[in-house]
Symmetry: D2
Subunit: 385 residues, 4 copies
């Protein structure tokens, strides 16, 4: 069993989740290549060092460029906000490092195209790229894909995909980076809508070919993130800033196989915490999934009623590496599964999926959604790669 | 307690459901006006007579026009396909008969407008009109309306309304009247989409102001209805006809209060039998409903989790007239509730809801959907009344 | 199609439910014998007359004995509290009237035995008897029975049957007749536990052969029923009476086929309104049901996950006589189904089920439960018929 | 932040789960004492060494006694079958090592008593003991406990606790150690019933004071574990052995607060994979939980309907240390939570819970269940400590 060095960029939510996965993957999957958690990069030296110590990285740096030249780093894992993805990923690929990059691939279509081009070029030299659409590695989603692939659903007629959260319902919730276009690229659309699009395309094995869209920003001004709630209450005037992204995006479209699809991404769905929901109806059967009950896949055959499959059996995707039947997985396990697949691809010299190309494909959908929304919801074709 | 004579036109599915309700309403609600089930009209004399005998009507006729002149008929209940609604309803209103008419109000916007005009004119003389959007009288839907009206949800951000069935998934299912535009007006859109639209508008108390739409006919040719499945299998060539309505309709739009809404109507959602589903997200809470579990309303307050309310308590709408808590109602009870309200309105000299005007409002949405679908999904305003 | 005269005794909850069924059965099922709703008997003349008018009975009487001699009464339907079942049923059977009797069959084992003996004697003369365990006619329960009968579950290992309500949780709820042994026979045990026992025995096709039991009365004194809540609050001393029945009964036991079973009946299960719940686990599959979602049967085959069957398909028990798939039934429909079967049995000269003998079988279980509870929970055999 | 050395005994299912937790706890909780994973003990040298390497332990030994004298081991974590718990735990406590021991505490009441006595003695010297009833650390269960403690349920009337699995339904499943009394102590009763008892006692804060029980062994002979399925099919005669434990155990009983409780443990509940289910009904509200949907707690207040609480909010037990709302946890997270609490107790010099004394309390219930089952289900008091 060989070893391979890993450098991580970013140590907030995604950095924590990825670290947990890098730490766990060896014991759970016994991969051909064992990761050595070499270095963590973060902008502030003290915070990066503290995070490295806590999350299990051997060293820390305040400059992610250090990772490009270190011999003990063969993989660079990018967990920063979207505005720095392109710069880091392209540099890493050019330096010959395998890259795992958080989603959405980029903040703009141009950036995504540049990243995909860099990935293609690097791939010619055996350098691997992957975009971290983690939900593909939820066992229930992977099983859904398998069932569609096996033809269990027949011809796909309908997809209903929603990603619903409620964490910014309160108008006093501050203007965090995810609400600013210059950092996040878009709002609910890119942050969570991208997952809905990737999951739908992955499970059906089809592409979304055109869309008609509506977007909305319900709360247009919010307190600046730096003002604490307590101070805000006392202050006569709270400084506010403008929300420059969508709060919600709705779109309908057509699939490459002739079916119809509807999508919704919102952080204003009170009571829904992390409801990535997918329904697929085919001529022979149907599937339903809600991430809030992530271990369950609901499967209908021939209209006879939905069966609740607890996706924890040894022959279910990923489940065999974990615990016995009925002993479900949680949010972070999908990252461990994802990294196991990434390591396997690197070890076996194959291209992991979803690739930057897949990430670009999602980006093209997001771009078409924004164009349609800006153009009277006119049906807008998704650009072909 | 007075009596009031009723004449019914049509004795298929809706005629059976309405008859059950006319028969039950007295014992359950003890209304101020007791219905006398005077006469049933059906096109074929023998079949009309047999239906009258079985369904509890005192007499039968093969000509619905007989009802216009009978002294023992003060109410005419129209349960025919949509192509005859306008003619019968307008004649009935002009004859001074109160009219209850099945939905959708009409097959075309022009017909619906003529009906609403006739209704307005008759109303000046105390003649009442009602369109039978029965789902408004499902206790859970009525409770949903009550909660929104009381402000429990705050500002409405999202509506998700779907009406999903699967009875024509099989390409060998024949070309019944509901699949022919000249009889049904439209397909899933008018038959079940109209319910979704009315329910969403009723529960939110808002109007859908514009839509962007996609429609599709998945199976374009079907065996003629007169060919039995057995014969079809034997025959070398089965005679087929063209499906002239939509199999499915998807649309997104905006509500008069500023929220976003998505709609879907399909008879190709394998495994969904009669899933009229509604979700409403507001700034203070949310609601969720699925007719397949019609006695349950799911209510969230402030994002604390959805509570399953079994809508069978004495203080819930309609429930007190029926059985003790937990003893749920079925499909037909909504018709009995509806007719109780209709009789109350007639008895008290008030206008029942939903009126023909409400039916017209739904019709305008359906028309906008068809226009948008025909026009590249362009966002299309719903015409104001 | 012939007619048959019916007399009903009692017009409270059960009288209302049965009346609804007698009124509906003709139109829904078109039975060989159409019921003529001849007479309603109630103790107070005025109230009986008012109930007859409202519920659709042609006449009323204050003396149920009148029904014994009326020529227009061939069926006597007993909807009184349990203390009068034996007297009325035996008299009716001896008078040659077919008898439908509410459950539990009687308040004591001795009464039940006398009733079963009278039924056997009358049956020799073609007089039919049936005990109204209505839940057998819920389509989902009937489908469960069918599946077990067909062997879909294999060898039965476990039954879990509960009937949970919460209507007497409040200690101020008054001492109604159901809380007094002299009228009700027992408490939760007889009122709802009897349904759980009958449903379990019916679905499995097996008998409960022995039990070990615990019973409890949580609230031992309650306000007398005649004291209104308002007065009670004002009064310095509210007159109370002693609860003389069980508030809850738990028992475990063995089935004739070698499986284990557990039962619980309680009206103190806060939040459960009418939760008759049944789970059956067999060597090849399992079933689960909850009356609070009465149109759903959950079916597992071989441990592959529970399928939610919406029991509304044409080939499901009773469902074909009602509405299309997905258009569910309510509480009262089971009574209509039951009466349709009763009428069919009378018309065809066969014995309906469940018979008084089946009612006696349940009564023997209730008696064993009470003996075990009084005897240190000692395992107690259910007496063989 | 200090360090503390850990030695693990056993590396099968529980050893893997505990290792995952020891590996994760530092990054997730940042405990005052960081564990150093010093040594893994397993009976076979090669297998122990391989397991240590994979699971992250610095060294391995084939003799657990080595751990008693190693200076780099302050905590001994026992993950062996029940037959060795007493020997290892008592030796470890006497050697001054803190002990975390898998459940059930022991195979016999005598062993459990000896262990509790050793724990009491060691505690006087600051040596800590804990029994690993992991389900207490599922956030939903911990929240359930908190709600009961706060009085949200009022007086507890009913507990319904079941632990249902189906992994030995097949009669050809071999005679593994869990089916042999000399190794496992008992069958479903000790393995999973012990969890149901501990969970019920923990959530209610009450003790089970007496029980009436039935147990059964459905399949009395099974193939020996060493015979593979393939060989078995070929062989003319498959060697079998006798199952010496219960396949299922049912019991009902009384709680110290006056409520009634029912329990069931079975591995023959086809379709239930790991269904630890708990329902608690109180005078003011109710709770329901099923481990198969481990992130959900269903909470009723005053009979108004069960609310689905996704137990992933920052103010829910343990959830704040993990992921954002709606990003649920899996089976293994409860072990990490448990070990975090254990380390906190060691660091702060307090006694962790559940203690060996709590484990003994469960053992006394199991012993009473076996006595009752052997004694005609006679109600049997649970011995007081």
């Amino acid at each position: 069993m060989g070893q391979i060095g890993v450098g991580l960029v970013g140590h907030e939510f995604m950095g924590r989740a990825h670290s947990h996965a890098w730490r766990s993957v060896g014991a759970v999957f016994g991969p051909a290549l064992l990761p050595a958690m070499a270095v963590l990069a973060g902008r502030t030296p003290d915070r990066a060092a503290a995070a490295a110590a806590r999350l299990g990285w051997a060293s820390a740096t305040a400059d992610w460029r250090d990772l490009l030249t270190r011999d003990d780093v063969q993989i660079i894992d990018i967990c920063t906000p979207g505005d720095s993805h392109a710069e880091i990923a392209i540099a890493a690929l050019e330096a010959g490092k395998h890259v795992l990059c958080e989603k959405p691939l980029a903040n703009t279509l141009a950036e995504a195209e540049a990243m995909a081009a860099a990935a293609r070029k690097a791939a010619a030299n055996g350098v691997r790229n992957m975009v971290a659409f983690n939900y593909r590695r939820v066992p229930a989603i992977a099983l859904a894909r398998r069932l569609v692939e096996q033809g269990a659903l027949g011809e796909i007629r309908h997809v209903r995909a929603q990603y619903l959260q409620d964490w910014i319902v309160d108008p006093q919730f501050p203007l965090v980076w995810r609400l600013r276009r210059e950092l996040a690229g878009s709002g609910a659309l890119g942050d969570i809508g991208s997952h809905a699009v990737d999951t739908a395309q992955y499970v059906t094995g089809q592409r979304l070919t055109g869309v008609s869209a509506l977007t909305e920003t319900f709360i247009k001004e919010r307190p600046l993130a730096t003002v604490s709630a307590g101070l805000a209450a006392q202050a006569q005037e709270v400084e506010t800033g403008t929300v420059t992204v969508d709060d919600a995006a709705l779109f309908i479209g057509r699939l490459s196989g002739g079916g119809l699809a509807s999508f919704e991404a919102s952080r204003f769905a009170t009571g829904r915490k992390n409801a990535l929901r997918l329904e697929v109806n085919g001529s022979l059967g149907s599937l339903a999934f809600d991430f809030e009950a992530m271990n369950e896949l609901w499967v209908d055959k021939g209209g006879t009623g939905f069966r609740r499959v607890l996706v924890t059996e040894p022959d279910h995707p990923y489940a065999g590496a974990w615990w016995p039947p009925g002993h479900g997985l949680g949010y972070d396990h999908a990252f461990t599964n994802e990294i196991a697949d990434f390591l396997d691809a690197v070890a076996s010299g194959t291209d992991p999926a979803p690739s930057f190309e897949d990430g670009l494909r999602v980006q093209r959908v997001l771009a078409a959604v924004e164009r349609s929304a800006a153009n009277g919801s006119m049906y807008t074709l998704v650009e072909e790669s």
